[in-house]
């Protein structure tokens, strides 16, 4: 059996952990320079506010309902996520952390004495008791069905966040009540095409011919169908496939008009991309670097991108930062209010499968990079790095409504009245 455990509105719930004053209030978390809504607690959802919408459109409504607005406090979420995964991990022999707020458990042939419902409730209870985070638990025979169960636990039945699909009857009942688009691995576009063929519910998808769907769509969809029928096809390694492109990009906190600020920001992104490349054991051979004005603003429009090909694929921070620093000269244009910039590694090779050029001058230093990554892992990200990104950047992301860093900064410890 497999379980999917995921936190309810994780970012919004995390904001409530150390701030009891807001636990009963609607909480909305913003991202991207406080422009977009990325999480809503249950109370906020009931106001009719939608996820991923622009904040300014619902600002008035939220203010009228005394909602709490927060910028994304990644330090806090990361800390709570790690703790949560550790607590959950104690309930199964095998755990796969899928994202910041959800993980799969694989029980294999093990069975809890008190039954699956009780086991699911124990997980929910433990996470709540130890961290004050609400989670849902879905248990079924395959990862995809565990996702289905998780959906059922939240949207169907008694909605206490727990569902166990341990018989064909229960699986059928839920799949019949579920729209095909809500199946894990079926996107909006695929769902639209499936609907054209008369496949509307998850149950109809489960009863389609997997081979035909493979021909028409992809091998992934074939796997989804097989998983809905109780045959495990998803392997964690396959799920963790390396990214084929790696981007780091963000809007500036306020418009940038100086080349120095653009350069610092590009170098900051280059450093992030280099770090991500090393984490997945890849090197970049082609970088794209870009900046543009705000396309939605009534100011002069501008968009420029340059590419940089490395003589030899690299993931050395210094090489990427150097490329970014040079690119800033070409990308900058005086008189433009720059809104956003970014760096992307668009051609990537695996370090293991790399072909080296015997005449190439190796500029990278893997040991130095390893050492740098180790220091940054231990003492916090960006403890050391390229000075080119600046020390007191004034282009940084806007996080106006940031809550304290309760768990990562001594000065922000939660205060307790005595």
């Amino acid at each position: 059996m497999y379980a999917l455990v995921d936190a309810n509105s994780f970012y919004a719930s995390a904001e409530k952990v150390f701030d009891p004053a807001i636990r009963q209030r609607p909480v909305v978390v913003l991202t991207n320079n406080d422009g977009c809504i990325c999480a809503l607690c249950e109370n906020a959802k009931q106001l009719g506010v939608k996820k991923f919408g622009p904040y300014y459109k619902v600002k008035g409504l939220l203010a009228r309902h005394n909602a709490v607005i927060r910028s994304s406090n990644y330090e806090l979420y990361d800390y709570l996520s790690n703790k949560m995964m550790q607590v959950i991990g104690e309930y199964a022999p095998d755990q796969h952390v899928y994202s910041i707020d959800e993980c799969f458990l694989h029980f294999d042939t093990w069975q809890p004495e008190a039954g699956w419902k009780a086991h699911a409730a124990a997980i929910q209870q433990a996470v709540w008791q130890q961290l004050r985070l609400p989670v849902g638990v879905g248990i079924a025979a395959t990862p995809t069905l565990a996702k289905v169960a998780s959906f059922a636990g939240k949207r169907l039945g008694d909605q206490n966040g727990i569902a166990v699909l341990d018989s064909p009857q229960k699986v059928e009942e839920v799949l019949r009540a579920m729209h095909v688009q809500d199946v894990w691995g079926v996107g909006k576009r695929i769902a639209a095409r499936l609907e054209n063929q008369g496949i509307h519910s998850a149950w109809e998808l489960a009863n389609s011919c997997p081979k035909a769907l493979r021909k028409q769509f992809s091998v992934e969809l074939e796997r989804t169908v097989r998983e809905l029928n109780g045959v495990t096809c998803i392997q964690w390694d396959a799920e963790r496939a390396n990214k084929k492109q790696i981007y780091s990009t963000r809007a500036f906190g306020h418009p940038v008009t100086m080349q120095q600020a653009l350069r610092e920001s590009l170098c900051w992104h280059a450093e992030k991309v280099a770090e991500k490349l090393r984490r997945q054991g890849s090197k970049a051979s082609l970088l794209t670097l870009f900046t543009h004005a705000n396309p939605f603003a009534n100011t002069r429009q501008y968009h420029k991108a340059v590419q940089h090909r490395f003589a030899q694929p690299t993931n050395d921070t210094r090489a990427l930062v150097e490329a970014a620093s040079r690119a800033s000269v070409d990308l900058f244009k005086a008189g433009i209010l720059l809104h956003k910039c970014g760096v992307g590694a668009i051609e990537i090779v695996d370090t293991e499968q790399e072909q080296t050029d015997m005449f190439a001058q190796l500029t990278h230093n893997p040991k130095l990079m390893q050492c740098m990554d180790a220091i940054n892992t231990r003492y916090g990200s960006q403890t050391i790095g390229a000075a080119a990104k600046g020390i007191h950047p004034d282009w940084k992301m806007k996080r106006e409504y940031l809550s304290p860093q309760y768990t990562t900064n001594w000065q922000h410890l939660p205060k307790i009245a005595c």
């Binding site: 004050r132 003492y379 000065q411 410890l413 939660p414 205060k415 307790i416 005595c418």
Partner: protein
């Protein structure tokens, strides 16, 4: 912000190996002593003087364990009507005691929001100024 990384100074001079090297053990770790359930524990800071009778003073660190077993009389941190408070909790009579000078017991009523956050399993006094804890932001 400049961060200082503490690294033991080494001169790189090697001579005879210390005969004690074989007996090297891991250094004592305060976390091990103070924190029993790492996933369920958080640190807070005491504000106020209502708990001086049990040795908790303004500015002390409170180590709060959400997984510790409860007894009939515990020093707890609770959410009382939307604020974190630290009190001595008499479970049987549902009263929050403040063992400081001149503080009255608080009997929990029906209108109160009351959630126990955890049990204060240790508290830490700072007898001297600690740079890390100064400059409270809020």
């Amino acid at each position: 912000m400049l961060q200082i990384i503490p690294v033991a100074a080494q001169a790189g001079i090697s001579g005879f190996e210390s005969p004690a090297a074989e007996y090297k053990q891991l250094a004592l770790d305060l976390d091990e002593l103070l924190i029993e359930h790492p996933n369920a524990t958080f640190i807070g800071q005491a504000k106020g003087d209502s708990m001086t009778g049990v040795g908790i003073f303004d500015g002390d660190l409170l180590i709060v364990d959400r997984a510790a077993a409860a007894t009939s009389l515990d020093v707890i941190v609770a959410n009382l009507n939307g604020s974190f408070v630290c009190k001595l909790y008499d479970r049987n009579s549902q009263v929050l005691l403040s063992p400081g000078l001149d503080h009255q017991p608080y009997a929990l009523g029906e209108g109160d929001i009351f959630e126990i956050e955890g049990i204060v399993v240790r508290s830490v006094r700072m007898h001297r100024y600690v740079r890390w804890l100064s400059q409270c932001m809020r």
